[in-house]
Structures are given as C-alpha cells and as structure tokens.
C-alpha cells in the first residue's frame, strides 16, 4: 500500500478569496443591488441630514446679515430638530443595513455548510463574507453619501440661489461623508459577519439543514 504523505495544511490564498467575493457580487447581481440599495438609502438619508446642517451652519456663519439674523433666531429650534433627525436617520440606517445584510447572509447558510464540507475553516468563511460585505458597504455608503450631498445641495440652491454655492461647506461635508462611509461600511460588515459566524460555527449538517 503506497500512501502519499500529505502535509496537513489548509489554505485560502487572498487572491482566490478576493476573486470569489467579486464573483459572488457580480453573479448575485440582483441581490447585490438590493443590499447595496439598502445601504445607499440609509447613508443617503443620514448624509442629507448632515449636509442640511452643514449648509445651515455655513449660511449662519458666512451668509448676509439679514439671513443670519433670521437663521440664528430659529437656530435653537433648528438644533433640537436636527438632533431628532440625525437620531432618526441613524436608526433607519442601522436597522436598514443590518437587516439587509442579515437576510442576505442567513439565506446562504447551506452554502456555508457546503464549504465546510469541502474543508473550509471558519475563518475562510469569515474572510469571504468580510470581503463581500466590505465591497457592499463601501459601494453603498460612497454612493449614498454622494447622493445625500447632491440632493441637499440642490435644495439649498433652489432656496438661496448662488449664495448656497458661495458658502458651500466643503470641509464639513467631507468630514460628514467620512463619518457616514465608515459607519455604513462598519454596519454592513457587522451585519454580514454575525450571521456568517453563526452558520460557520454550526456543525455543517446543521448549517445545511437550516432553512430560511
């Protein structure tokens, strides 16, 4: 009996993992779009609230005297309202994104079980879903941030005309965009890794049985 001695090692090279994740995004395009849209909507909403605040502040700071007076008058009221809006949009964002990711990964429990039958370690599974959700998160949040800024810029343009351009709060918007993108991506990753972890930790038989 000749038996080849095999090194006891298992691996998933990054290049392969990356390709697999990209492939999965492309082929599950319809699903990917829905997931990305949920992230996009959440972040766009959040970003529009942020942008609206940024524009208002810019107008108060740099706008003409008359406008400044009326704006400042309302500013206390505005501030309470904007805290409400930000909290609300954060909530929408968190629930929307986490829900979309949870759904899309939980329904792939069988796939995770199958991969484990083929010799995948838990961390291979996590790596694949990390890459996938990173892509979803980044794409959705960046697009969402752009759309949010764009929409609010138009609103302020319509209200204040050129003035909106001259006070354009680029610095604040950039800062808020970064916050939103990091938030959206983090939520997407958490929302995906949690169910992936649950399925990966199960015995493969159980993961493959789990119907959603």
């Amino acid at each position: 009996m000749t038996k080849k001695k095999i090194e006891k090692q298992l691996s998933l090279p990054f290049r392969n993992a990356f390709q697999m994740s990209l492939r999965s995004l492309k082929i599950r395009f319809g699903r990917s779009i829905i997931v990305t849209m949920s992230i996009l909507l959440g972040i766009a909403f959040l970003m529009s609230v942020f942008s609206s605040n940024a524009f208002t502040n810019a107008l108060i700071e740099k706008g003409p005297e008359a406008l400044r007076a009326t704006m400042q008058q309302n500013s206390q009221e505005l501030r309470t309202r904007s805290i409400w809006l930000v909290s609300l949009s954060l909530l929408v964002c968190v629930v929307g994104i986490v829900n979309a990711m949870l759904m899309s990964v939980t329904e792939r429990s069988r796939e995770i079980g199958t991969m484990k039958c083929l010799g995948a370690l838990d961390r291979f599974v996590m790596e694949l879903f990390l890459l996938e959700s990173l892509a979803h998160g980044l794409l959705g949040s960046i697009a969402g941030a752009i759309i949010g800024i764009f929409a609010i810029t138009i609103v302020f343009l319509l209200q204040h005309g050129r003035l909106a351009i001259s006070v354009f709060p680029a610095g604040a918007l950039l800062k808020y965009s970064l916050v939103s993108i990091i938030l959206g991506t983090t939520l997407a990753v958490i929302g995906a890794l949690y169910p992936a972890y649950v399925s990966a930790r199960m015995e493969p038989a159980e993961a493959m049985r789990r119907e959603v």
Binding site: K8, L10, S11, N16, M20, F124
Partner: protein, 246 residues
C-alpha cells in the same frame, strides 16, 4: 490478507432534542466498512440514514459512541484537523447537489483543491481532467443553474473526487434524478469505486443501487436490521421489490 477498515462505528447513538422531548434517531450502530468497498445503507424514510451519514462524515456530533475514520477517532480531532479530514479524506455528495451557486462547474471542483493548498493552475488542470472523467468535458464554464440535475450531480462527483479522498459519502445521490439519469450516476460512482479504489458509502432507498453494492446495510428505526453480502443479494431483490409494492 484481511482488509483494513476505513470506517468503524461503535455503539453510535444520536438523539435530537425537540424542545425538551428527546428523539432518539440512532440507537446504537456498530458498523465496519472496508477499504475499497461499495456500501449501500438502505432503509425507509426517517430511519436515520442521513443522520448516520452525517456522523460518519464528521458533519455532526454523535450523542454517544465513536466513529473511527482510518483508525482515527473523529471526536478527538480539533476544528482544524476535522476540516482537513473533510477536505482530504472524504468527498461528499448530496441529494440536492449542493454546488456553490455562484461558481462555474470548474470552480466548484477547484475549491476543495484550493483549500488543500494546490495552486490555481494545478487545481484548474486537475479539475478539467475530472470533468472529462465524469463526462462533462465541454461544460466547464457553466454555472450550476445552467446544468441539468444529472449534470450537476456529475460536477458534485468530480468535486468529491478532487483531493483523491479515501471515502465518498453520498446521501441519496439519485434522489432528485429520473430513472435513467439515476442509473448513469450509479454507474459513474461504481466506476470511480473500481478505478480509483475509493470506498463508496451511499445512503439511499433507490433499489437500483443494490446491483452495484458489495454489501447492503439495512437500517430500520435507528438500528441495523441486517447486513447482506453481494452474493446473497440477487435472490432477495425480488422479495424487496414485492415488499415495496405492497
């Protein structure tokens, strides 16, 4: 020369908990499967075939008893060794094929080889050969949903063979296929069993499987009812078919 056992189970029991009510499914299975053997585990629906399949394959943990694969106690393995065992020693085939839906036929077969540490090129070359072996040479770049059930099962067989396992475990491999396709798949499994000397263990209620089996293990209510050798089988087939019809 006495043949070595590739799989051995001793007093294997599995009890599922349905809420607080224990549901014993396997009630003490002692089974020895030899290297190179083609074994069919037969039994009515609900008798515990899939449960036994999962225990033998290291896909679930027994409540009691032991499973030895190649004389290694599966319960003693850590997560890494268990994954390695699943990767290199055992090839799995399922009733529902379980191909990774986003990968082509070729990529599905490559996956276990990538896990095993082969380079992409090596894996691709071998996957191509395996596809030819199972008779799907031209379907390389098709996705599972572009393939018929029989073709998907062929890809699954090729994938199961990817790392030259010692054992192929097949749970109702013909369960979702029509009569003729089922026959072809059985023939293919038998051919692999003969050519590659891989032990084939199928859980099934497909009587077509009897023809190719070296031994048949009849399971009923979580216990082995009887084990029959190939030699004694021919006489019994008529009897069984009568039983099924009645």
């Amino acid at each position: 020369m006495p043949k070595e056992a590739i799989v051995r189970t001793i007093g294997l029991k599995k009890t599922y908990m349905l809420g607080k009510i224990p549901l014993p499914v396997l009630k003490g299975i002692d089974l020895e499967i030899l290297k190179g053997e083609y074994i069919s585990i037969m039994g009515p629906s609900g008798s515990g075939k899939t449960t036994l399949f999962n225990m033998i394959g290291g896909l679930d943990k027994p409540t009691e008893g032991k499973v030895y694969i190649d004389e290694v106690d599966v319960a003693q393995l850590d997560a890494y060794e268990l994954a390695w065992l699943r990767c290199r020693k055992i090839g799995y085939i399922f009733q529902t094929f379980n191909l990774i839906p986003v990968m082509t036929a070729l990529e599905n077969i490559m996956l276990p080889m990538i896990f095993a540490g082969l380079s992409t090129d090596e894996a691709m070359e071998k996957a191509r050969q395996l596809l030819v072996t199972v008779g799907l040479g031209e379907r390389i770049h098709h996705k599972p949903f572009e393939l018929s059930g029989g073709q998907q099962q062929r890809v699954a067989i090729a994938r199961a063979l990817a790392n030259d396992p010692a054992i192929i475990l097949a749970d109702e491999p013909t369960g979702n296929l029509d009569l003729r396709t089922g026959k072809e798949i059985i023939q293919l499994l038998k051919q692999m069993n003969r050519e590659k000397k891989v032990s084939v263990i199928t859980a099934t209620h497909d009587l077509k499987m009897l023809d190719v089996s070296d031994r048949v293990v009849w399971v009923r209510d979580g216990l082995i009812e009887r084990v029959e050798d190939r030699a004694n089988l021919d006489i019994k087939i008529g009897e069984v078919e009568g039983e099924e019809a009645g």
